[in-house]
């Protein structure tokens, strides 16, 4: 990739509008990822590209903002006792493997079907995985919110936890004892997805919840550790090629560090199923967004014929839907925080009243 670096990469001139856009998207992306462990990248990368940033620079700058954000979020949530560091590191190590394999698959598809084929593959994996996993997460969240937000360990996780296949691993914070051989595939799939669609958390968090049997809170917090490790490794790689536009990174970071902490605080206000609701909603809306992008790639491959105006509209609709996904997540998080805070204030006032009349 050194040849790319040798080329004169166009780093854009920043104006006030683009700075404000990046800051706000950074903030909302941070808020969502502080809450569900990942997010933001799927809007930021296309968003930066629409500002005229070259694709590689957008990916590199985005990744370089992702790992410090994940670090700050992980630290904050570790203080709340939600992070299972051991699980995070095991997952991150296997995810690293997944990324390598994912890149190989991408290259193979690129060689065989060209750029359009690669884009179609990415979009199709997006839609298929997000619809299946997101649909399941959303349905489960709705089910548990009806039963008062009680979190239950899935039958699959219970069955896997019972299988004795050494080496067994005990994850204390997640309170899970499971064979290493069931943990690695989840991490591997996370890495594979991260290499394909750049948001590994969409498979990592549901994997930890439904396959390993960790709670939504612990899974989303642990995902931040994975994001940190992978983001760090990726950023070093991109920075060595000179692809990181530090200005973009720092502007996004300005918003996202504020957001990620607010999101992390938000997790302490809500019940476990809220994380699943936010995650499921975002995944489903993002799936719609990516679905809208598919006709363009099909046309590039010569499979269908679509007019250029339609394509323009579809691409705009796709990007707007993506922003809506993030916006919906942010609204749900802030709304549930607001409700919880109001309830807490009411409770405090009641306690204060009781206190002032004495305990007797």
């Amino acid at each position: 990739m050194h040849d790319i670096a040798a080329e004169a990469v166009n780093f854009i001139d920043l104006n006030v509008m683009s700075i404000i856009f990046l800051f706000i998207v950074g903030f909302i992306g941070g808020l969502v990822s502080g809450f569900i462990g990942s997010g933001g990248a799927f809007v930021l990368t296309p968003g930066m590209m629409s500002l005229g940033v070259p694709g590689t620079v957008a990916v590199a700058s985005n990744m370089c903002h992702k790992f410090p954000k994940a670090m700050v979020g992980a630290y904050k949530r570790w203080k709340y006792g939600q992070v299972d560091i051991k699980l995070g590191l095991v997952m991150a190590a296997s995810a690293g493997l997944g990324v390598q394999v994912g890149i190989k698959i991408q290259q193979w598809i690129l060689d065989k079907w060209g750029q359009a084929g690669s884009n179609l593959y990415v979009s199709l994996s997006f839609v298929i995985i997000l619809v299946i996993v997101g649909g399941y997460v959303f349905r489960d969240a709705m089910k548990s919110s009806k039963t008062g937000g009680k979190d239950v360990v899935t039958a699959l996780a219970k069955r896997l936890q019972k299988i004795y296949l050494p080496p067994m691993m005990h994850f204390k914070t997640a309170d899970v004892k499971i064979s290493m051989w069931f943990t690695i595939p989840i991490g591997f799939a996370t890495g594979l997805l991260a290499a394909t669609i750049a948001v590994g958390g969409f498979i990592g968090v549901p994997g930890m919840i439904y396959v390993l049997g960790a709670s939504g809170l612990v899974s989303s917090a642990t995902e931040l550790v994975i994001a940190f490790v992978m983001g760090f490794a990726g950023s070093v790689k991109w920075a060595m090629h000179g692809m990181v536009d530090i200005r973009l990174t720092l502007i996004i970071l300005a918003g996202s560090l504020l957001g990620v902490q607010l999101g992390a605080i938000g997790t302490t206000y809500v019940k476990d199923h809220m994380i699943k609701i936010v995650m499921g909603s975002i995944m489903l809306i993002v799936a719609v967004s990516r679905g809208l992008a598919i006709p363009e790639y099909l046309k590039d491959l010569g499979l269908i014929s679509v007019g250029p105006t339609t394509l323009k509209w579809l691409s705009a609709a796709s990007f707007i839907t993506m922003c809506i996904a993030l916006g919906v997540g942010a609204v749900i998080i802030l709304g549930s925080m607001w409700r919880a805070k109001r309830a807490e204030i009411a409770k405090e006032a009641e306690a204060a009243l009781e206190e002032s009349y004495g305990k007797i």
């Binding site: 410090p68 070093v236 920075a239 060595m240 970071l253 504020l258 807490e344 204060a352 004495g358």
Partner: protein, 304 residues
Amino acid sequence: MVRRNSKEEPKQRQGSPNPGDPGTAHRVNGPATDAGTAPESLSQNGQAIPAADAAGARLQPGENRKILVAGLQETFTAAAVDYAINLAERLGYEIIGLSVNPELTPSGGFLTPYKRHLREEFAKRVNAASTGLKQKVAAKGLRFEHRVGFGDLGKAIEDVNHQIKRIEFVITDAKIDADEVTGAVSLPVFSIKGSQGERIMAEHLSRSTRPIGKTIAFGVAAAALYAAVFTNSDTVMHYFTKGGWFAALPIATVFAFSFVHGAFANYLWAALGIEAPKKVVQPRPEAKRPVRRQRPRPELRLNA
């Protein structure tokens, strides 16, 4: 401020009235009470009598039942004093005041001369403060005695309870949490808060300070870092995109920014009052316990 010192416990058990002992109460002023009378009254006829009787009919002449008003200052809150005086007047009880200073305890079993001096000073202040109180109580025709104690409040109360008999219950003022005392004391303890309660609550709320100073400090530092990068953006971009070992520059930069700006963000939310509501401990699923089986029990049956 550690009030309960486990090292001091053996001394306390001996019940030594030595003023040097922590938690020991000693009289400052007021009439002497005969600490030895009560146990004798219990065995006057050579036999133990039920406590209820002892508290009722067999009161020694000149000895009255008492209310102990305890506090951690030289004076007590008006609410506690008023309540105690009213109650004592109605019931015909005496009032004992007990001011406990929790800090002047011996360190390593030794009371330094300076601390001894401070204790005397404290006793003097209590003496001075109690004159007004004494007059107030005397106006109602009640007897009042003010004592001082050092160390743990509960132990001090218990000591006074041993020395002076017939203390019926304890009234603490609003500044003391009733739970602090009840564990060590074998008397009923009532906390009088009244209008004082609200004041204490207000103090408590204002005490949860918001880190405005830190927010400003880190905000300025973060702004300075941003200004440094963006005013020299041409130079920065030149070196940061060189690749190779220059990769350390953007990585180190984002770390530095995330520490400073992250700290600013942390304090900013705290300053705005947005904080985690409680100590969050991940709820763990309950461990499965073996089901308790109902065993057949032998039954007594009558076949008639």
